[in-house]
Amino acid sequence: MKQKTLERWAPWALLVLSILIWEVLCRAFNVSEFVFPSPSRIAQQTIEFKEVIAGHAWRTFWVTMVGFGIAIVVGVLLGFVIGSSRLAYAAVYPLMTAFNALPKAAFVPILVVWFGIGIGPAILTAFLISFFPIMVNIATGLATLEPELEDVLRVLGAKRWDVLIKVGLPRSMPYFYGSLKVAITLAFVGTTVSEMTASNEGIGYLLISAGSAMQMGLAFSGLVVVGAMAMIMYELFSAIEKHTTGWAHRGSQGE
């Protein structure tokens, strides 16, 4: 019980400790706020510009969610196709790997040409960066069925589709939720990177404009806000995962 409480509060304690050390260092060495603002200065500027930040944050949030939503749909569909057919797996997988190796920031200028400055490039960058882990995990879950189980079902006259629906999909759910947690954080990266060059709104834009105006405190609060949003979404999917696929986490429940 005591160990558990400790584990629960450990990340918060570490966070507070880091902020304290940061603050102390900034004060002790009298670091200029134009180089590296102290936490108190960041907090002060966050409060000062809270409406501006909230506006940009909301924009980044919903753009990310739209991109992420598309990534889930496309990732699940592609993963389903790849995982259920060996031929599709052989054909698609190498190309997808090559595609995944490309830096997604490099797509932004191209997307700007196609869709102009605004939400288009941001949504698509978030989508491009986050669908890959979803696809891979669904495909893996489907492709790694136990052969005995497949025999048991096939002998009953089960079609490939039956096996996929009754066994493949539920089996790949833990992989799916696992991938969502990774993908949502990536989606925030995608949106922010895109907004830095191809938008007049959003946290990415805020970072660039605050930086060029030497408002370092504001730039840092932008970073903090993106980090916080990504972490909240991560925890949300983590909670959904635990509730829906408890059977896959029985080892760690410790009861």
Binding site: E146, E148, L149, D151, V152, L153, R154, V155, L156, G157, A158, D162, K166, V167, P170, R171, M173, T245, W247, A248, R250
Partner: protein, 272 residues
């Protein structure tokens, strides 16, 4: 030889693919076997001798390269829905309760499939009853990972039997269990079989298990995978665990052991 054989293998050969077929490399060779309606047969042999291949042939998951297989008078052309299977690994689905696991075949096989939703209560009742007979009453809503290995295996056998198959195929179903649990499950299988009289094909490498349970024991040799010995077990039924300590029982086990030992020796000389 009798025309009313339930399972009838006529000169069956199987190579796993065309390449192996061209090289005359067969997984199982020259299998002739007749099983009567309701007969319990066991197949013993060293690992890798094609026992599991034999199971796949019987259920129609694999087609023979040569020869033909009749089950219930009909040539086997595809997966045989009148059979249920259980393996060494229970392969229960961890996200389904024991009851839902047992019900799985009814969601797939006709005629249950089409009325599964309407008659779910009735089927659940039936599954509960079956679970009760194997001593799993009260565990319907537990998940497989909350059960012991022996309990999982019982549930797995229930799953193989829920659609009342005419033929039960067991591939080393008790292989991973401890000796006491294994003997307990022998008796459960014996009772189920005595009551329902389905055909059983039990693949095992436990000679005592085969002699205790089966009417006929076939010994298979390894590469080539052939049936080399057919032994009718004429111990009286019903058989009790006590019978495994009688000299008659031990003699039969001994004799079968002799056949397998001889095969291993010739195998060794060939290898050298």
């Amino acid at each position: 030889m009798t025309p009313q054989a339930f399972v009838d293998f006529q000169d069956v050969w199987l190579a796993y693919n065309d390449e192996l077929l061209a090289q005359n490399h067969f997984a199982v060779e020259d299998i002739n076997l007749q099983v009567k309606q309701g007969e319990f047969i066991a197949i013993v042999g060293p690992s890798g001798c094609g026992k599991s291949t034999f199971m796949k042939l019987t259920t129609g998951l694999k087609m023979p390269s040569k020869g033909r297989i009749l089950v219930d008078g009909q040539p086997v052309t595809g997966p045989l829905k009148i059979s249920g299977m259980a393996f060494q690994a229970s392969s229960l689905l961890p996200w389904r309760t024991t009851l839902d696991n047992v019900l799985l075949p009814l969601e797939i096989v006709e005629p249950y499939r089409s009325n599964f939703k309407q008659k779910k209560a009735e089927y659940a009742e039936r599954a509960s009853k079956l679970l009760n007979t194997v001593g799993l009453g009260g565990y319907e809503n537990k998940f497989p990972w909350q059960l012991s290995g022996g309990m999982q295996q019982r549930a797995s056998i229930c799953r193989a039997l829920i659609h009342e198959p005419k033929m039960l195929l067991l591939d080393e179903p008790f292989g991973a269990l401890d000796a006491f649990t294994r003997e307990e499950l022998w008796c459960i299988l014996r009772d189920l079989w005595t009551e329902q009289k389905f055909n059983v094909i039990l693949v095992t490498h436990d000679l005592r298990e085969s002699v205790f349970l089966a009417d006929t024991v076939y010994v298979m040799s390894k590469s080539p995978g052939r049936f080399v010995v057919k032994k009718e077990i004429d111990l009286p039924r019903p058989r009790d665990l006590e019978i495994t300590y009688t000299p008659e029982f031990t003699d039969i086990v001994h004799e079968l052991r002799g056949h397998i030992g001889a095969m291993r020796q010739t195998g060794a000389t060939i290898n050298q």
